[in-house]
Amino acid sequence: MGEDISTYIEDIISNIGDETKREALEKEFKKFIEFGVPPDYAKRILLGKFAKDKKRKKLLELKGKESSVNLLCKVITINEKEITARGKSKKILYGLIGDESGVLPFTSWNTSISLEKGEVIEVKNAYAREWQGGVQVNFGERTVIEKVDEDRLPEISLEPKKCKIADLHNVFGPIEITVKVLDVSKKEVEVDGERREVFSGIVGDDTGKAQYTAWHDFNLKEGEIIKISGGYARSWKGIPQIVFDERCKVEKVDRDIEVCSRKLPIHKLVEMRGGIDVMVEGTVIEIKSGSGYIERCPDCNRPTINGECKVHGKVNGIPDLRIKMVVDDGSAGIGVIVGRELTERLINKSIDECRQMGRDKVMEILEKNLLTKRVLLKGNAIGDDFGTTLIAKEIEVLDVDLKGEALNLLQRLEEI
């Protein structure tokens, strides 16, 4: 029995993060047990009781699993969003909060809470969850928020966080990043009735590539290395973006950096949701129907079925060739789309030859060439609610050195 109690006590102590409460907690817990209260229930009650006056946590100490935390932070940005939950629409607040340790995104599900930008707030009973690979703070029904004097939080850390492109999906608040400019294009857009110049393109470092948008003419040139301090990371369907403007510092750096894409385990790519020029390796476990030789409607580009477009009826289809497949490395799976030219090269057949062979034969060749084979892929990947899809720029079917790899594994096995 004693042993049983200690695991509950450990759980509560680690949750409230205050070792000094151990003795009082043990005493109360034992009392509950003596009265025959089930330990799980006793734990819940005492957790609630002890959590109320526990020490506050710093934002960057949060792991994303805390069910009850107290915070002191400043509201950095705030937005409103209407959502539908259980058939009812309600307004929720979201944005960024910061303290001396850093910045995190938050969502307030509690409609009775109102917040304003710049306020310093004391938060009790918030909870933290993991969301899209990072930690998010949530204010729920049980969360109590009190506006406090600004002096209570002497400074919030808006110190730009040093990061690399591979980290961008997981940082909030200002960043400092050193990248190579891979291309620059200028366009004019209208913002609030005002014409503004905006510069955009691709930058890279030794962990990957990202898009950027600069709302100021920093005279960026292709091939330069720049250090951006104070920019922000955004993401569009998982593709990392860096946004910066005249308030940021942009310095030219006098050393070269090598831009390359690291090969990622597929679970990592799915966690990041997407990326530019990413590289993955995995096994083809499925070739989707609709792969191979198809004809498309000349008006809307939809694939035709028996020479008919769903919208435009009987049409003279334009031939096309493509592969839609699932590649999985055992850690996660992604959809992969291979376009016409890559497919032609892969199976060493032209689209005309494919048309002559007929769909079934082409499918047979694709299956023979790809199914259960290990492939190396490079391309842009985008993420949505259904997972991640990579549009291949390069594909290579790998020869697996079975014996060599097996001997390597045997050796590693001795070490574990």
Binding site: E10, S14, K63, G64, K65, E130, P265, H267, K268, V270, E271, T283, I285, E286, V326, D328, G330, S331, A332, G333, I334, G335, E367, L371, T372, K373, R374, D385, F386, G387, V400, L402, K403, E405, A406, L407, L409, L410, R412, L413, I416
Partner: protein, 280 residues
Amino acid sequence: MKRETAWRVFAGEYNESNRVIRGEGKKPSYVITPLGAKVNRLFIVGVLTDVEPLTEGNDFIRAHVSDPTGIYTLYSGQFQPEVTSTLLNSDIPSFVALVGKCRIFEPEEGVVYVSVRPEAVYQVDGDARDRWILETCKSTMERIEALREAKKLSQPNAHDLRKLGYSRALSEGVIEAVKYYKEIDLDKYISMVEEALRYLVPEEAEIKEEEGTQEVSDEIENLVLGIIKELEGEEGALWDSIVEKCVQAGLDKSTAEEAIAALLDKGLVYEPVLGTIKTT
């Protein structure tokens, strides 16, 4: 709804699973294997050993697929007519690859039988099976390592495991396995992987071992014989002194003792008094 990972898990590990996380509502269910794979879908390549219709109309069948560690049981019914007919029309035995969902049968609390409901089945060749064995060994080893790492943590938790680079699903599965399967016999799974790997390199592993021991021991025996000759004088050399000299010469103790024993067996040395060796 995100795509479920197609895990690589040997039958020998999968069939030992008796922990299930039941999905509520639209959430999927998962089987937690003893090494912490959190499985909803599997990718398997193995040998189709039998297909047995369970109904008269052949619309519900049971089949078995074997890998180097055990046998998967498959069930396929009228909702996968293509899979069912592919299986019924396959040669026995033949190599098949399949992607399938976990099928869980829990006749009573705590008793779990797992099988597989294939979503797609393909005819493949032996190379595909060998590649799969290799991948599955790699995955299994990763789980063994993750489990070891989890046990090193003062309070095993998925967050710290993920920091080591393991995927979220694996980290969560491993923590669940540590909690649920109190005594996991890791050595059993290590030998399972080893056997599967030997399967891929049977001749090389053996040749290397034989040649290796043969060559080395000839060389060592000559060295040890030289040392004995050096030490023996009239009375013979003391066993302990020989071993000591051998260790100085760079051999380890057990090898030196084995070499002396081998020389005795061959009659190149004898033991006039217990603990003393002399050349013949």
